[in-house]
């Protein structure tokens, strides 16, 4: 049983961590005319690409396994790491398989990605999807629907496949299933965190963006009962929420530092994969359903403005729902929106009397000693306090 689970986790680890994208290459071998759409963080309606037979690939950064050789010559020094590592992947030719690249202007630094890519890869279709920043506006749904239709049109041109209501509905069902499985994984973490460590859970989750969803559903579908069937004993560990992983990801080693000292019962890693918090309805106009779901039944992040979802309230809700005792409020180094939001989170958590640790991280960090010390000291001081 453990062996099977380990195999599944290893497959996910390879898909997530290997900068050569083995899962994508395998898909391309199996689908000789297959086309890949790469999309930068945070959210992209992958169903639309899938409905045209494309493989949507969630573009992320990499840890120190990817060395920056060329990217620094194209982007200023004072930006976060994910922008550089993802660009390095492109400049080094490792993602030559892309037929389309989509970004969303999530932050002022990431807005430059499309310009840089357009200049560097003039043959590639580099697109920007303008997700509404006035999300609560009554005019936003119609606008977003038109924007999804526009992107769908480009995808149809590139693939030569038309996206029908039927094909889009089928894709929505597949992705609904995926999000259900991910919700279940997080439910296990909240209810019985001793059953699955943070790193394994992270790999199982993040692999959704790095391999075909059909395969990911199959893997998660097998993994979840195996995790539930475990008989691990709860330990006397602090229950915490990790906030700050919506875009750049901390290296896996840092997650293992976290899991050594605490149960991370909820987090916002790769939040785009779980952005839609409920099933997208499968009746009616599927494109409209996707657009409405983005606006109406979605999670939160520092890069979306929606006054209906004040971010500090959303964080407090996440903490209460997961019965966490404390929080780690992190931000990627040089990440303007993340660093700005940290102060608001700090104030709200202080006002609510929730112990928290403010920290920065970088995907390329190789020295974890300081982080370990900070996290251990934080956790120990709290355990002492709670005893």
């Amino acid at each position: 049983m453990e062996e099977e689970l380990n195999e599944i986790i290893e497959e996910c680890r390879t898909a997530v961590e290997d900068p050569e994208y083995p899962a994508v290459h395998q898909w391309l071998e199996e689908n000789s005319n297959g086309k890949v759409l790469g999309h930068f963080q945070v959210y992209f309606p992958e169903e639309i690409a899938h409905a045209a037979g494309m493989l949507p690939l969630k573009m992320k950064g990499f840890d120190s396994s990817v060395q920056i050789r060329e990217a620094d010559a194209h982007i200023a020094a004072f930006v976060c790491s994910i922008l550089r590592t993802s660009l390095e992947q492109a400049l080094s030719g490792r993602i030559d398989f892309l037929s389309m690249y989509v970004t969303h202007p999530i932050c002022d630094a990431a807005r430059h990605l499309n310009g840089v890519w357009t200049r560097q890869f003039p043959e590639l279709s580099c697109q920007i999807l303008y997700l509404p920043q006035n999300a609560a506006s009554p005019h936003a749904p119609a606008y977003l629907l038109a924007e999804y239709r526009r992107i769908a049109g480009i995808i149809e041109e590139i693939t030569g496949t038309s996206i029908t209501d039927e094909s889009l509905l089928a894709s929505i069902e597949l992705f609904n299933e995926n999000r259900r499985l991910l919700r279940e994984l997080y439910q296990i973490r909240r209810e019985t965190p001793e059953q699955i460590g943070l790193t394994d859970s992270y790999l199982l989750m993040a692999a959704a963006g790095a391999m075909p969803r059909e395969r990911h559903n199959e893997l998660l579908g097998r993994a979840l009962p195996l995790i539930r069937a475990r008989d691990n004993h709860p330990q006397d560990k602090l229950r915490i929420v990790f906030e700050g992983g919506y875009c750049e990801q901390p290296p896996i080693e840092m997650l293992s530092v976290l899991q050594d000292v605490a149960y991370v019962v909820d987090d916002d890693f790769m939040i785009g994969l779980r952005w839609l918090t409920e099933d997208v309805p499968t009746s009616g106009d599927p494109m409209r359903n996707l657009a409405v779901a983005y606006l109406e039944t979605s999670d939160y992040s520092p890069v979306q403005r929606d006054p209906r979802k004040p971010k500090e309230d959303m964080l407090l809700k996440r903490i209460h729902q997961s019965k966490a005792e404390a929080a780690i409020v992190a931000a990627p180094k040089m990440c303007e929106p993340g660093l700005e939001e940290q102060v608001a989170y700090d104030n709200a958590l202080t006002a609510a009397g929730i112990p928290h640790l403010i920290m920065e991280f970088e995907e390329k960090t190789t020295n974890f000693e300081q982080a370990r010390m900070e996290i251990e000291t934080f956790a120990e001081s709290l355990l002492f306090e709670f005893v």
């Binding site: 620094d72 010559a73 194209h74 982007i75 200023a76 020094a77 004072f78 930006v79 922008l83 202007p105 999530i106 932050c107 002022d108 630094a109 807005r111 430059h112 499309n114 310009g115 840089v116 357009t118 200049r119 560097q120 590639l124 279709s125 580099c126 697109q127 920007i128 999807l129 303008y130 509404p132 920043q133 006035n134 506006s137 009554p138 005019h139 936003a140 119609a142 606008y143 038109a146 924007e147 526009r150 520092p302 890069v303 403005r305 006054p307 931000a331 180094k333 040089m334 303007e336 929106p337 660093l339 700005e340 939001e341 940290q342 102060v343 608001a344 700090d346 104030n347 403010i358 920065e360």
Partner: protein, 434 residues
Amino acid sequence: METQKVAIRPALSQAGNTRTASRALMDNWWKQLGEADAAAQPVANTFVMGSLAEVLNTFDIPMSFPEIAALQTAVKGKAMDYLLAAEDLGYSPDICGYVKVDIGLHATGRDHPLGKYPKPGMVVASNMCNTYIKWAEVWERQYGCPVFVLDLPGWRGTGFEYDSSSETFRNDVKYVEGQIRDLISLSAEVSGKKFDIDKLREILGNVNRMSELYQSILAMNKNKPAPFNALTEGINYMGIANILRGLPEGVEFMETVLAELEERVAHGVGALTDERYRLLLVGTACYTNFRDFVGMFERWDGVFVASEYMSYAGGGIDRGLHYDLSRPIESLAEQILITSQPSMSGIFFSHEWQAKMAEEYDVDGICYHGVKSCRTTAAGLPDAREWLLNNAGVPGLFIQSDLVDSRLWAEAQMRNRIDAFFESLQSRRVQSGV
């Protein structure tokens, strides 16, 4: 090069008019903000890109431009006090310095070196810079004031066509027009005034006139020598264009500027006594060491004949913005879209614009000044520089410091880079026998 130059300039009747007018207008602006604050009259915080001054002025809502205020603290040598105050509150050294100066001002009693810094009664923030939105949320939390985010869909990437007959354009206009109507309702609520469409029409007419004048002003620098420095003087034109957008005083000011420049051109008077290098600035200046920064170029007789800043911070007035007064609200939405796309999105795709400017203004080189505070203008500069060199043969200098944070100003390093750049321009000239 270090020899003292003696300027023999003809006496010009318009000389100094712009400077006098700009000082008086700026002082008056600060006075009005102070008075509004004292009378608890709601002031709108808005930004240079996407200010929607047209709507706010229709309701006589005084506008505060925190970016301009932040810049002024740096020029006055005061920015560090506010930056440190904000950092004490937990704001990172790595975020936009303008935001922190503002936070510091609010945290230390709102005493700006030029006057009383008002509390916001409402906020208009466009997505032309994402940091505007984060910044607006700081005030929202602190003062509980209404925040209106104007969401402007920008350039969409490869092969994107944006003619007014395209479906995307029509959809975008609907979205923006809807938002403008929402802002009109909000402004009426905040100001307690009724919406007067004729007043809006009048304001739009003034913006049209300002836009025509502003375009003529920019074009003056196609002359040799260039009559104004797009960095030092340009920043003043820009500041007034923003704070008085759509007002008769704004039109008058532009007329004053143009008259002074026309006279300079007629008499062959340039911004520099002996113009040798014509430069384009991409990015912004460093305001903590504004004079030193400019001086490093001027000592080589280099003049900034154009600046990207004078484009994207101008809310379309450099791009031939022209409102159709017979359908004010619809036209406002359309024109904002048409002109904001090349301004805002142009920052990210500005290589072609730069190549065009280099040709039209006969530019010798481009200075790319990356500022840590502003990823909006700076993150992709090294890539643009490479493109211009390889595709348009225009050499570029990439330097880095900051807008308001003097800790990031490395004088010797900056000077060395700039000197080396001019030396290379000089040897290019020698090689090409100019």
